[in-house]
């Protein structure tokens, strides 16, 4: 079975209304029509039968009838047809007479003749002639009172009457029924539209509200009208939205508290750490004066203190991102120059890093943050991947402004597929066994935040040659 195309609620409601209206209108019209038709026909039939009987009873019969007498009777009866003019046919033995030119009628059926002969009662039959016009045929046998019993005299009179007048009346009733039903259906559209509107408006409101809720506007509420099922639904929607808003607010607050805590802790750690760093540097320089065991311990403390200082700096940086306090300090820089300086500063300008830099390309960006990004990406590649690391910088013209595209590829084993989705997560360790690494665990997270601040994207993938491939894509002209 082919499925019918889905129809809107409005269409369905209107169709249902119209169907109900049509059924009731047609049923009422039909029943009324049938009653009226039956009444009209019954009236005509009863009048015809009783008129024929009454008129026959005024005619004295001199039995046995002669042709002349039979003719006189039918001529007499044929004059006074009621309710319409009729033709009268008389039959007595083999004698036949009629009030018209034809001696017998084509409308009187053998069935009617048999019935009247077998059982002397008045009878009628509605028939149609060859042209389909309706006729009424009435058969009336004549009886006489003989020795207290009614005996048939043998005379039967038939009257045939066209029902043209009744047909017109009946047709007029059909026409009237049609004229009544069609405006009725048209009027039914109005309550259908009103009902559809009353149902559809809350539904539309609710759809819009759900859309707004989905877009994050959790304060969206629906106006509750009336007290029907739709109003109940709206109330439930409002309660749900309220509960959702409250939960989200609580979550946000908890998250903000946690971030504030991390930020406060890093701030508090910074001052003592600065002192410790100064002390460990001094001790580091004097290490050779101590015995070897103490010197090794001193160097360990110094190294770990340095890492702690980096971690605290990184934590403070990411806290600034979380607090949306990070700002761009935009400069016009030469990209090739900036990359080269960044690598030189970390002594990566040897064979381990290959660069492919365009000349004379100027970009507008925060040079400090760009340095952090590049250092993190290349440092990460050297640490987890392997030399040589290729850094290529290109620009791409786009309708909405030129883009800066930097690819950093290493020659390592690549990133495991299950790790890829989490590579930018904070403190994510690719190898669970290696709990202590050289980095703080925040490097890539800070890199990503910096790129985002510039309005760009950073993606990690595995290159065609097998190594990890980080692709940075950001506008050549960043907006503050």
């Amino acid at each position: 079975m082919k499925r019918i195309a889905p129809l809107g609620l409005r269409t369905r409601l209107i169709a249902a209304f119209l169907l109900v209206a049509a059924i009731s209108a047609v049923t009422t019209a039909t029943l009324t029509y049938q009653q009226a038709r039956t009444a009209v026909l019954k009236q005509s039939q009863d009048t015809a039968v009783s008129t024929l009987r009454d008129q026959m009873e005024t005619q004295p019969l001199d039995l046995p009838l002669t042709q002349a007498q039979l003719q006189r009777i039918v001529t007499e009866l044929g004059k006074r047809g009621k309710p319409n003019p009729w033709n009268v046919f008389g039959e007595y033995g083999t004698l036949r007479a009629s009030s018209t030119s034809a001696p017998t009628s084509t409308v009187v059926t053998e069935e009617l003749r048999r019935k009247v002969a077998a059982h002397p009662h008045g009878a009628f039959q509605r028939v149609t002639d060859t042209a389909g016009r309706p006729y009424l045929a009435v058969g009336m046998p004549a009886v006489w009172l003989h020795n207290e019993t009614r005996e048939p005299t043998g005379l039967v009179v038939y009257a045939t009457m066209p029902l043209a007048t009744e047909g017109k009346t009946v047709d007029a009733m059909v026409e009237a029924a049609k004229r009544g039903a069609v405006p009725g259906l048209a009027i039914a559209v109005i309550p259908a539209l009103l009902a559809a509107r009353s149902v559809l408006r809350p539904v539309r409101d609710m759809r819009l509200a759900a859309q707004r809720l989905g877009l994050g506007r959790l304060d969206t509420r629906i106006e509750v009208r009336g007290s029907d099922e739709l109003a109940g639904l709206a109330r439930t929607f409002n309660e749900t939205a309220g509960a959702l808003e409250q939960s989200v607010a609580e979550l946000r607050e908890a998250e903000a508290r946690a971030r504030r805590f991390a930020s406060d802790v890093s701030h508090e750690l910074r001052t003592p750490l600065a002192g410790m760093l100064a002390v460990t540097e001094v001790l580091d320089e004097d290490a050779e004066h101590f015995d070897p065991d103490t010197a090794a311990a001193l160097r360990l403390v110094s190294a770990e203190t340095g890492k702690l200082a980096v971690l605290v700096e990184d934590l403070m940086e990411i806290s600034r991102f979380d607090a949306r306090a990070a700002e761009l300090n935009l400069d016009d820089v030469d990209i090739a120059e900036a990359v080269r300086k960044s690598l030189e500063r970390r002594h990566w300008d040897d064979e381990r890093v290959h660069t492919d830099l365009p000349s004379q390309v100027r970009a507008r960006l925060d040079s400090r943050r760009f340095d952090v990004v590049l250092a993190n990406l290349v440092g990460n590649a050297l640490r987890h991947g392997g030399a040589p690391v290729r850094v290529s910088v290109r620009t791409q013209p786009r309708p909405d402004g030129a883009r800066l595209r930097i690819e950093v590829a290493d020659s390592g084993p690549g990133i495991a597929p299950e790790v890829l989705p989490h590579i930018f997560d904070r403190f994510f360790k690719a190898d669970a066994a290696r709990t202590r690494s050289a980095g703080s665990g925040l490097g890539l997270a800070i890199t990503l935040e910096n790129v985002r601040l510039h309005g760009g994207t950073l993606t990690a993938a595995n290159g065609p040659a097998g190594g990890a491939l980080f692709t940075l894509d950001m506008p050549l002209e960043a907006q503050a």
Binding site: L19, A22, I23, V26, T27, T30, Q34, L41, V49, S50, R53, E57, Q59, P60, L61, D62, L63, P64, L65, T66, Q67, G93, T94, L95, T109, E111, K115, A117, H119, P120, H121, G122, A123, F124, Q125, R126, T128, P134, V138, G139, M140, P141, A142, W144, L145, H146, R150, E151, P152, T153, G154, L155, V157, E166, G167, V170, D171, V174, R207, Q211
Partner: protein, 181 residues
């Protein structure tokens, strides 16, 4: 704007089918009601009231001879000039057969032809009991048709209403029988 899925795809098919069936039933019903028709439809033969009761003029209705038509229906012919008060007189009238006028209307008799001069004397009636009339006939009555017997019984009974009639022939006696219509 997102378009919601129509509910019918989310629900099992049975309710949809049931709905279709209900709609079809409603449509059929509606169609049937409408089709019972416009216009005037033919009918069978419908009886309506009594037959017309006519007056048959004449000195009396006693003494009525019954003849028959080809299809076996009895037609009464009252003896209008000289009402035959006696059963024997009316019997003779019956045995003489229909006159010119009656024959013109297609009336006939199913009784055997009779030579009144030779056989008339052997025809006669007699009371067999309080309510039974015997009719002596000069021909065999055992072989008479049902219509012929009714002719005899009704003609005799018209002079003695309510009497039973026994037909007495040279071969057998038939009856008693009443005349009923």
């Amino acid at each position: 704007m997102t378009r919601t899925r129509p509910w019918s795809t989310a629900r099992p098919r049975t309710p949809a089918r049931r709905r279709t069936a209900a709609a079809a039933t409603a449509a059929l019903l509606l169609g049937a009601v409408v089709l019972t028709g416009c216009g005037i439809k033919p009918t069978g033969v419908i009886e309506s009231g009594a037959a017309g009761k006519v007056v048959v003029p004449g000195p009396g209705t006693k003494g009525t001879v019954y003849f028959v038509t080809a299809d076996g229906r009895l037609f009464p012919v009252p003896d209008r000039d000289q009402p035959s008060r006696s059963a024997a007189a009316i019997l003779v009238k019956l045995l003489m057969g229909p006159d010119e006028e009656a024959r013109a209307a297609g009336l006939e008799t199913r009784l055997p032809p009779l030579d009144i001069k030779k056989q008339g004397a052997s025809a006669g009636t007699s009371m067999l009991s309080d309510d039974t009339v015997g009719v002596g006939l000069p021909f065999k009555v055992g072989t008479l048709s049902e219509v012929a017997r009714r002719q005899l019984v009704c003609t005799i009974a018209s002079t003695e209403p309510g009497y039973k009639v026994v037909l007495l022939g040279p071969d057998a006696d038939v009856g008693p029988a009443r005349c009923d219509f």
